[in-house]
């Protein structure tokens, strides 16, 4: 009858359990620190940069990385490190605000479309489908080109562009939640629509929304960088990673550092946020393997 007892030796030793946990969350941890680093540089950037990002110094142009200029200088002799740090500011603010706009509007529209359903839902979702029928980058380019590109218009365009995606996610969660018995019980005891939406539906949408928001942040960075590269992002002299890359392309062979540091920053930030997003998904939506 000894086999009837729980066999203790099958319980893993403690250090192994800890290592497994860390390993499972390794990428998330790395991503988290990357994001914190970039956000920090966006916030305290102006205080720590050694040079003015716009200060030109022809004598110092195209200097390779050194103690004075750790990322080197560009074709106008501007300090690349200062420009990269300041560039994180515009990327984080634009992509962050844009993603937030998309999430807020997408949440509201998705809640309404999903909860009320019927013709309203039909019209809303068709409009979203129309918006999604224009390739995202193209739509952004057309709008920015016609209306002029500025800090605010880039935010608006990025925000507007991702509303349909967020709406679709929120709506599908709401459609699932609203048929659950606890929502019907709330209706039966006479709760207001406001209460049902805010207190019964919303808490169940939030985990999905958080994951979606992090995904939108990833894609917003992608979009801001791409627009910058095409010259439709924030306008000079404000430093923009995408534009820095595009500007530096003629100097690719003799001064690769001008192109490398902003490009690497984009890559690291995008990948870092992706890792955080994936960690969020595993933590908040443990059941599903679906990833979109």
């Amino acid at each position: 009858m000894a086999t009837m007892q729980i066999n203790q030796e099958y319980i893993q030793p403690k250090y192994l359990a800890i290592w497994k946990k860390v390993r499972r969350n390794l990428l998330t941890t790395i991503g988290f620190f990357v994001v914190v680093l970039f956000l920090l540089s966006a916030v305290v950037g102006p205080l720590v940069v050694p040079y003015d990002y716009a200060e030109q110094n022809i004598e110092q142009r195209l200097q390779s990385p050194s103690v004075d200029h750790i990322f080197g200088t560009d074709e106008f002799g501007r300090d690349v490190f200062s420009r990269v740090v300041m560039g994180s500011r515009s990327v984080c603010v634009i992509a962050g605000t844009g993603a937030a706009l998309a999430v807020i509007f997408g949440l509201v529209i998705g809640l309404i479309a999903g909860y009320w359903g019927g013709l309203l839902d039909d019209v809303i979702m068709r409009l979203m489908e129309v918006m999604m029928s224009i390739p995202g980058l193209l739509l952004a380019m057309l709008v920015l080109f016609s209306l002029g590109s500025s800090f605010y218009s880039v935010i608006l365009v990025v925000g507007f562009m991702y509303i349909p995606v967020v709406t679709r996610v929120v709506r599908s969660v709401v459609l699932d939640i609203k048929t659950r018995a606890f929502i019907e019980a709330a209706k039966l005891r006479g709760e207001s629509i406001r209460y049902i939406l805010m207190r019964e539906v919303l808490p169940n949408v939030l985990p999905h929304l958080a994951v979606e928001a992090s995904m939108r942040f990833v894609y917003a960075i992608f979009m801001v960088a791409s627009l910058g590269f095409l010259g439709l992002g924030v306008q000079p002299p404000t430093p923009d990673w995408g534009f820095m890359v595009s500007e530096a392309r003629p100097f690719y062979n003799n001064a690769p550092w001008i192109i490398f540091f902003p490009a690497a920053s984009i890559a690291i930030l995008v990948v870092g946020v992706s890792f955080v997003s994936d960690g969020l998904r595993k933590m908040l939506l443990p059941g599903g393997v679906s990833s979109d």
Binding site: M1, T3, Y10, R126, F182, E184, L188, R189, E200, P203
Partner: protein, 705 residues
Amino acid sequence: MTEMYRSQKSIDTDPILDVRNLTVTYRTGQGLVYTVRDVSLQIAAGEIYGLVGESGSGKSTLARAIVRYLADNGQINSGSIKLGNTDLLTLPMSKMQKIWGSRITMVHQDPAAAVNPSITIGEQIAEVARLHLHMSSSQAREKALEMLRKMRMPDPESVAKRYAHQLSGGMLQRVVIAIALTTNPELLIMDEPTTSLDVTTEAAILDLVRELLTEYNMAVLFITHNLGVVANICNRVGVMYAGEIMEEGTVRQVFNHKLHPYTRGLLGCLPKVTNDKRNVSLSAIPGFIPRMNHLPSGCIFGPRCKLVEDDCQAERPSQVEAEAGHFTACRRWEALQSNPDLLMDVQQVRDMDEHEEGPLVFTASNIKKYFDVTASGFDSLFKQSGTEIKAVDDVSVGVRGGFTLGVVGESGCGKTTFARCIAGLEEATSGKMELEGQLLPYTVAKRTSAQKKRIQMVFQNPDASLNPHYTIGDSVSRPFVLMGDLSKEEIQMRVKELFSAVNLPEDYINRLPHELSGGEKQRIAIARAMASEPTMILCDEPLSSLDVSVQAALINLLIKLQDSSKISYLFISHDLAAVRYISDWVAVMYLGRICEIGSSEDVFLPPYHPYTEALLSAIPVPDPDVQQERIRLEGNVPSPIDLPSGCRFHTRCPRKIGEICEAQEPPWQDVSDHHQICCHITLDELRTMQSEVIVGQADTLREVR
């Protein structure tokens, strides 16, 4: 020790399946969990062995262990499994795969999920014939048709070309059985094969399995939670509890002598078609199935057993052969044997008033609910319009204060939609509803807050009835908060009262729904519904997802609450025995209409509506001695979009009298003041052609009165 006594067990022929001392474990975060412990069973050719148990008893794990198809974290620790002369546990996996589908085949619970949606039915049978019988493509196709014919499938040629979504659940299960029998296996494992089916379909499938067994001389392991099905179809039965077999014997031995307290407990939990709440109460088993990683010492059923002694908890009892071929794992089996009523005598007569005709608190007249399946918006431009689903079509009922109206019918009959119309969750298309003399608006949004409080609902799925983000205390207190005029302390007090009313400890208040079992969640749902002191609670299949022992406790609770607060229930269920037990009045629904309504004892006695008769004859009665009339329905339930003309039941009615059934709507006929039948056949004719479907029922009733 176990081995020794097992060897004494006499089996006439060599068993096809011989499982000895099998122990199966799963590796989990909490360590090793022993899901199946020291289980032995033998099945001979031509024998159907019923393995019965509640959820978590390890019966499905046992089945998967036999075919060695356990989850990745599962493992067989000890024991042996022999199929004929083959030792399955020493076979390499590649050899085992050759046994799958040829010597051992399986039928699973949900036929709709077990058939591949993108391969034709015929091909799914034929591929087995090609693989194991080494047939050519054309031979295999012919074999597939032959198998479908054997399953009594109408028009096999066309069925073979169809896909899963074009067949009903019952037909799909026939297909799955056809696949399983193609290779003429030695062992057929059926894991809850009828659980997802309606009762009439279930009866037809059980008939089919019984017939096929005479042709195929195989051993069948039949896993189910339904004691009625076991009594109906099995030769031998093993009662499983928390990973061990508690009692084993022939069906008659086990059902008639019940030499284990758990078996007695399970059977005591079941409402019988012959019982109602006025004469007996159900004896629920107290406590819970132990968690597999915290097993009690000694007898695992000890903590829940009324006969438990100190010795029971000292050492795990071994199985004893009480009579030839009848084994029990209870130390006190002799006490059980000498007193057949021991543990079964808790059926005290309830002190409830006989039909004291209370006032009608709720009436629904001519309620209709048509769903428009026409797409809205842009799509409507490309879709033909005017298709309607008549889910509820002209239904009228009345509910008296403190009484229960049961509504029975198979899935798709409109019973749930009807309840949702009353609740105001669906907007009725037409009809009139009155609550305590007041006209009731169609939707809940249009009802006054007083009206909302008076009608509450308990839903089918306990997992979805509570918001996972709030503690159950929050969920129960919310109706009081809404009342607005109660202080925090008063609310606290009322919540505690409700917790004790539904027999939940107060310290549950701060728990989250996921920390509760299904039965506990359903109690909370009842408590929440009771909070506003409603006139009527609509119970939409509240028991269907629960184990029998939990069901019994919940039925007792509902009756207790009704007795104390004179509340009315509209009790919807597909389980006729439960409805019979709990209801004062019963309405039988078919395709959106009521076809018979009356007091519950009258509805369950002749004359019946032919549909009621068929339903009753299909109930699996958990008593091998009960004789049932065998009336089986042909074909599928017609689509509610394209309803049959005249009597809706005529397409399947075994008692159809002729063209009148197809041409004219049947009239309502009064059998008595409280019993009406909607049928073309006159009552006298019905009386002469029908006898009691479940024999012995009338006697019992008369005795009790």
